[in-house]
């Protein structure tokens, strides 16, 4: 293996690793706050990337119908749940938030999709379509089973994954898409060709990670979320509602997923079911971190990205076998370090 190949593999590993790192952070965040091991996290990546690609091509992404449907269902459930305590402002609030806003967005998309819009506008629109799905999914699927065990929640997230995969095929079709890069430029660094888009991915990852750090360290909402993660019961006693933290965590997780998808869509061809494997690797990184430490999750993600690039180079057919087998020793190490959480 000469140095060019090494550098190439490291670059490849870093790009993939950055995305895994973002997803790992989302996994850790969701698990810490809601105890949900959200295996559908990766599906947000596919939804984000494919929605963006569709907008860029001037077609209407099918995901708008999911957004509208989720909004309406969440709204109806909200009405049913609060039917005895509804006040006029609350009714208006639900109508505006769950019915009018998503439907208005759907209208906007249908109107502007055929026109060639600026890159950033399409990006923002794709985010606006995909990100609200997170809190809606939480409200519809997970709030009713909030008191369930981690395992039940995990199985529930598998149900969400199946839903999203099935709908994804319906919305985006079976063929893959690749979006145009934001910057077409390439640089030659030493012997390696570096595309501007890959720098963008790494830069954006870094910016997001710093953003997370500041959010949790410096803002009230971030601190509230952290408190809920550390001790949900204690947090609810001081007025941080589990439902608020759940919605916020899902909002952030969906955002992370969607932006990851948009960032990598020019670098790789995304299919409706690409998200699952991408997500699972972020997940492996989250496991490295024991679902608790953000910096460890990032380090693990980079390591997985590089391990993947190396095994893809030497034994491409067995890439997935190698990556997923690597997780087992990590799991065992984790289990030994935290022998059991049984209350005494």
């Amino acid at each position: 293996m000469d140095s060019t190949i090494t550098l190439f593999l490291v670059q490849d590993g870093l790009i993939n690793g950055s995305i895994y790192a973002l997803l790992a952070v989302a996994f850790v965040l969701l698990f810490a706050v809601t105890r949900i091991i959200f295996v559908a996290q990766g599906d947000f990546v596919a939804y984000g990337g494919l929605t963006f690609a569709a907008l860029q091509q001037g077609s209407v992404p099918g995901s708008i119908w999911l957004l509208a449907g989720l909004g309406v269902i969440a709204g109806i459930l909200e009405f049913l749940r609060e039917r005895h305590t509804l006040t006029r402002p609350r009714i208006l609030g639900i109508l505006a938030g769950d019915f009018i806003a998503p439907l208005a967005l759907v209208g906007v998309v249908i109107l502007v999709a055929p026109y060639d819009m600026p890159y950033l506008f399409d990006m923002a629109l794709a985010l606006a379509l995909v990100v609200p799905m997170g809190p809606y999914i939480y409200r519809i699927c997970f709030r009713p089973m909030a008191n369930a065990s981690v395992l039940v929640l995990l199985i529930g997230s598998v149900g969400v994954h199946w839903l999203m995969i099935g709908l994804g095929l319906l919305f985006f079709g079976a063929e893959g898409y690749r979006a145009a890069p934001m910057f077409g430029a390439n640089f030659v660094v030493g012997p390696v060709l570096v595309s501007a888009q890959s720098l963008l991915v790494m830069g954006a990852t870094l910016a997001l990670l710093v953003g997370f750090y500041l959010f949790f360290g410096r803002t009230l909402a971030g601190k509230a979320l952290m408190a809920a993660a550390v001790n949900a019961r204690g947090a609810s006693l001081v007025g941080i509602s589990p439902s608020f933290s759940g919605r916020t965590a899902f909002l952030m997780a969906a955002f992370v997923g969607a932006i990851s998808g948009i960032l990598i869509s020019p670098l790789t061809t995304l299919y409706y079911d690409s998200g699952f494997l991408i997500g699972l690797k972020g997940f492996v990184a989250a496991i490295v971190a024991g679902f608790a430490s953000f910096p460890l999750a990032v380090a693990g993600a980079i390591a997985i990205g590089i391990a993947e690039a190396v095994s893809a180079f030497f034994a491409s057919a067995f890439k997935e076998v190698i990556v997923f087998s690597l997780i087992l020793p990590v799991l065992i190490w984790r289990s030994i370090r935290a022998p059991h959480h049984e209350e005494d």
């Binding site: 091991i37 295996v39 699927c141 009713p144 089973m145 369930a148 981690v150 395992l151 039940v152 995990l154 199985i155 529930g156 598998v158 149900g159 969400v160 994954h161 199946w162 839903l163 999203m164 995969i165 099935g166 709908l167 095929l169 319906l170 699972l280 997940f283 492996v284 496991i287 679902f291 057919a317 067995f318 997935e320 076998v321 997923f324 087998s325 997780i327 087992l328 799991l331 065992i332 984790r334 289990s335 030994i336 935290a338 022998p339 059991h340 959480h341 049984e342 209350e343 005494d344």
Partner: protein, 593 residues
């Protein structure tokens, strides 16, 4: 999730089984439905394994499809490439599946909490990609041209011909599983789900038991895989991927992961639904899509929100009968000969436990003789429960020596210490809520029985079981809980749960009994009964170590008292001496400034 129905109202399942067996031979039943019934049978086998693994043993696996695949590929390779008869490949397939399940299980059962299901996702994916990428296994095309099963020269090609074979496998597996769950090993398995500490305290080797459960589930999946290869006549990797694994889990959840028959119900619902959806949905929505994935996703979420215990749980609630016959004439279980002489039963020297910089227990020592009740007193946080956990091996000690009957036991595992005649109760009650009180108490006699996995499965353990249950009932009567014997332990009041824990501990026939706050939550009358019981146990020569906050109870009952404060022994003496001791008064009431 509810527990497996143990009491057998045998006629109902038998009738259903018979009726189902005959269904395909009713004239006019289309062949298509017969082959669906065959697939239901295959899925039910795998799901039955999951019921034992998840519903009983508390381990969720997303990877069962991998074991189906290992077995299916084994028989496909042997019969296609080497021309070996399917009936001869059956033992090889099962052996290889057992071996794989054993090796994978060695890693998996060590995983704790949610790491375990995550681990199963990881190896589930890795193995399915391995199938799809090995040249030898035909990569993504798999292996085709697998020969059908044949009996006496007749090839079983048509659905109606294979049907009896499939359902014979299912029926035998269901009966074996029921037997297994209603046995000594089965109780140990069921106890796993509510945490390993209490199972280990009564001598269950939890890692070994988990491994047995895991391999058992793997073998059932292997049986299904072998059948699958010869019915489908081809194997492809997609049938054994992670999605298939998740589908089996869906079946278990929908049917009821805690019930043997839930496996069949769940398999039937999911297979039929999948089939219907594949036919109907594309007609409604146009071109072939992944519609069943949408429907299954929705079904899974709805099931988890509205019927988390599955379909069979609802049926079971109506018809289950938890009574069981107790044979009071059963020969009593063997008891170790009573201790003779005055030598110390328990000797503790320099017992120390440090958590980081904090010494929870610091250089504590005391002795306990047979026929003596020693009280362990101290304010909250004094280290009493930690001392209990050190004595019973639940947590490793930092320093110190412990002798029981003159044998060093520090460093031993909880189950080894239990085997030396040490039984305990827990400050926070640890009964398995979905087992009956009687079954919980019977777990206490685990070490006094010997029947293993195979004897349990083949029902060769009946005599011993009668003796165990007679012993359990006798101890429930001693603790005044006989009327609650067939209740679920989860329905007991706190006081009654504590008494049930004492009954369970007595079932071990201990020479040393450790009681952690037994009187907390008892009413006055119950406390008096408890005191009488403990006095009579003392008279029989049992040594009792008692942690208790109720001063009246402790002072009236104990022979000697050791007082701990901040992990250190501050006093030791008779109850009267302790009441006068200034150091004790200061620890409890605060010093006079």
């Amino acid at each position: 999730m509810k527990k497996i129905e143990l009491m057998n109202n045998r006629s109902i399942p038998l009738l259903i089984a018979l009726a189902a067996l005959l269904a395909p031979y009713i004239p006019g039943v289309p062949l298509f439905w017969v082959s669906l019934l065959n697939y239901i049978g295959l899925a039910a086998l795998v799901t039955l394994g999951l019921v034992v693994l998840t519903g009983v043993g508390g381990m969720t696996s997303f990877g069962q499809a991998a074991f189906v695949g290992i077995s299916a590929y084994t028989t496909a390779v042997l019969s296609v490439k080497y021309g070996i008869s399917p009936w001869l490949t059956l033992p090889v397939s099962i052996l290889l599946t057992t071996l794989s399940a054993f090796l994978i299980g060695l890693m998996t059962v060590r995983l704790s909490g949610h790491y375990l299901p995550l681990g199963t996702i990881a190896w589930g994916i890795a193995i399915s990609y391995l199938f799809g990428n090995l040249e030898y296994l035909g990569r993504y095309n798999g292996i085709s041209g697998v020969p059908p099963l044949s009996i006496g020269g007749i090839e079983l090609i048509e659905g109606r011909q294979v049907y009896p074979v499939v359902w014979l496998f299912v029926t035998v597996s269901v009966f074996m599983t029921r037997n297994l769950l209603d046995s000594r090993t089965g109780r140990a398995m069921s106890a796993l789900r509510s945490g390993k500490t209490s199972a280990e305290a009564f001598g269950v080797n939890t890692t070994r038991t988990k491994l047995i459960v895991f391999v058992y589930a793997g073998v059932l999946a292997g049986l299904a895989g072998w059948l699958f290869a010869h019915i489908q006549r081809a194997v492809t990797p997609s049938a054994f991927g992670i999605n298939a694994g998740i589908e089996y889990l869906l079946m278990a959840v929908v049917g009821g992961a805690g019930h043997v028959y839930g496996a069949i119900v769940g398999a039937a619902v999911v297979v039929l639904l999948k089939n219907q959806l594949q036919d109907i949905l594309p007609v409604i929505f146009g071109q072939g899509g992944n519609f069943e994935s949408i429907a299954f996703g929705a079904l899974l979420i709805l099931a988890l929100i509205y019927a988390r215990d599955g379909i069979w749980a609802a049926i079971d609630q109506r018809f289950s009968n938890r009574q069981r016959h107790i044979n009071r004439d059963a020969r009593p279980l063997e008891t170790a000969p009573a201790r003779q002489g005055d030598a110390a039963l328990l000797t503790v020297e320099g017992l120390t436990k440090r958590f980081g910089g904090l010494a929870a227990v610091n250089d504590v020592g005391f002795k306990l003789k047979p026929g003596e009740i020693l009280g362990l007193l101290g304010p909250n946080g004094a280290g009493k429960s930690t001392t209990f956990n050190l004595l019973t091996g639940v947590i490793p000690l930092t320093e110190g020596k412990i002798w029981i009957d003159g044998v060093r036991v520090d460093g031993m595992l909880p189950e080894e210490i239990a085997a030396r005649g040490v039984a305990r109760t827990f400050q926070h009650v640890k009964l398995a809520p979905e087992m009956t009180v009687l079954e919980n108490v019977a777990l206490g006699a685990h070490l006094r029985g010997h029947a293993g996995f195979v004897r349990g499965m083949l029902r060769l353990d009946r005599e011993e079981e009668e003796r165990i249950f007679a012993e359990a009932m006798r101890n429930l009567e001693r603790t005044g809980l006989a009327d609650d014997a067939f209740q679920l332990a989860g329905n007991l009041s706190l006081g009654a749960s504590r008494m049930a824990e004492i009954a369970r501990a007595l079932c071990l026939a201990p020479s040393l009994l450790l009681l952690d706050e037994p009187a907390a939550g008892l009413r006055r009358f119950e406390k008096e009964e408890l005191a009488k019981l403990l006095s009579s146990l003392r008279a029989d020569g049992m040594g009792i170590l008692l942690v208790e906050h109720d001063m009246e109870f402790v002072m009236g009952l104990t022979d000697r008292i050791v007082v701990l404060d901040f992990g250190t022994r501050i006093a030791e003496g008779t109850p009267t001496e302790i009441q006068r001791n200034p150091a004790v008064q200061e620890a409890y009431l605060g010093g006079l400034q």
